[in-house]
């Protein structure tokens, strides 16, 4: 099995059938996952509230939580500082 095929299969296994499309479609070496929703729910914040704290729109929070959009490095650091956790514990890349 080629490296590319095993990558597709791995993504398929971890994230379900639709993520299969995401990993192939973007030709990415990583499948990005994040803990944003869990962290936000633990603090009882709405998406709008978190968006206001970070200075972005509610849609941006929704897209990040749904793993449709990877934030820029400055925003990722801002998120990490707000939750008081290292960036790599909130955002994970899987080979």
């Amino acid at each position: 099995m080629s490296a590319a095929t095993s990558q597709w299969k791995a993504c398929f296994t971890w994230h379900g059938k639709y993520a299969f499309h995401r990993c192939i479609g973007s030709r990415s070496d990583f499948c990005m996952k994040n803990q944003m929703r869990e962290l936000r729910m633990r603090r009882n914040w709405s998406q709008q509230e978190l968006a206001e704290r970070l200075g972005v729109s509610r849609q941006t929070i929704n897209a990040i939580e749904a793993e449709r959009y990877d934030p820029s490095l400055p925003l990722a650091i801002k998120i990490a500082k707000l939750f008081g956790k290292p960036v790599e514990t909130i955002f994970e890349g899987e080979n």
Binding site: Y18, R22, S26, V56, T60, N62, A63, Y69
Partner: protein
């Protein structure tokens, strides 16, 4: 780049949000169908495909503006800084595409041209304002939409120009290409927005 990720089942509130968006869209489509029928008698040029495309493209822009206006009205907290510019941008672009279709007996062609130029300039300025106030997700959507738009237009132009040069197709007008560009803008940006999850309703539960 995260795109097109897994779609979780919608909660009842998210289903309501989606149903409401569909209803707004269909009401807007019905309103503009009536407006198109009312406008039909004042169009001065004979019925041509490029005019029809321009009319549909212009009204799609106006419909998009109406849907955005209603959505902003229903959820005022979303993007408060760019709300007005975001609604007015497709209004000015749509009007600039529809105005040249109106006959010379209603508007003098030179005045019509001046109005269209002013509307296009206003549209560019509003688009710039939207860009300046947008956050990184919305900027990414704008960038990606323009990129997809460019590739679709360039590919279509390449194929059509080749066919035209070989005598397979009749010559297209620049007005026809403008109408085509307006028409494809909407599906391109909708597709990019969908890929970036902009269609996903809020999920706070």
């Amino acid at each position: 780049m995260a795109q097109g990720g897994a779609r979780e089942p919608l909660t009842p509130s998210q289903k309501r949000f989606k149903r409401r968006s569909w209803i707004i869209g269909w009401i807007a489509a019905a309103i503009f169908l009536v407006v198109i029928l009312l406008l039909d008698p004042v169009m001065h040029r004979p019925k041509r495909l490029d005019d029809l495309l321009a009319l549909i493209g212009g009204f799609l822009m106006l419909q998009m503006a109406l849907v955005m206006a209603v959505s902003h009205f229903m959820a005022p907290a979303e993007m408060p800084r760019q709300r007005l510019s975001q609604v007015l941008t497709p209004v000015t672009s749509g009007a600039a595409v529809i105005l040249p279709l109106i006959g010379p007996d209603l508007i003098d062609p030179r005045l019509n041209f001046a109005i269209v130029i002013a509307l296009v300039a206003l549209s560019f300025w509003l688009a710039w304002r939207v860009w300046r106030t947008a956050d990184e997700l919305h900027r990414a959507i704008v960038r990606d939409s323009y990129m997809v738009n460019y590739f679709v237009l360039a590919t279509a132009l390449w194929f059509y120009a080749t066919g035209e040069r070989l005598g397979l197709f009749s010559a297209a007008t620049s007005w026809g290409w403008l109408a085509f560009a307006v028409i494809i803008t909407l599906p391109c940006s909708l597709w990019v927005s969908y890929r970036r999850g902009l269609d996903l309703p809020p999920k706070d539960d």
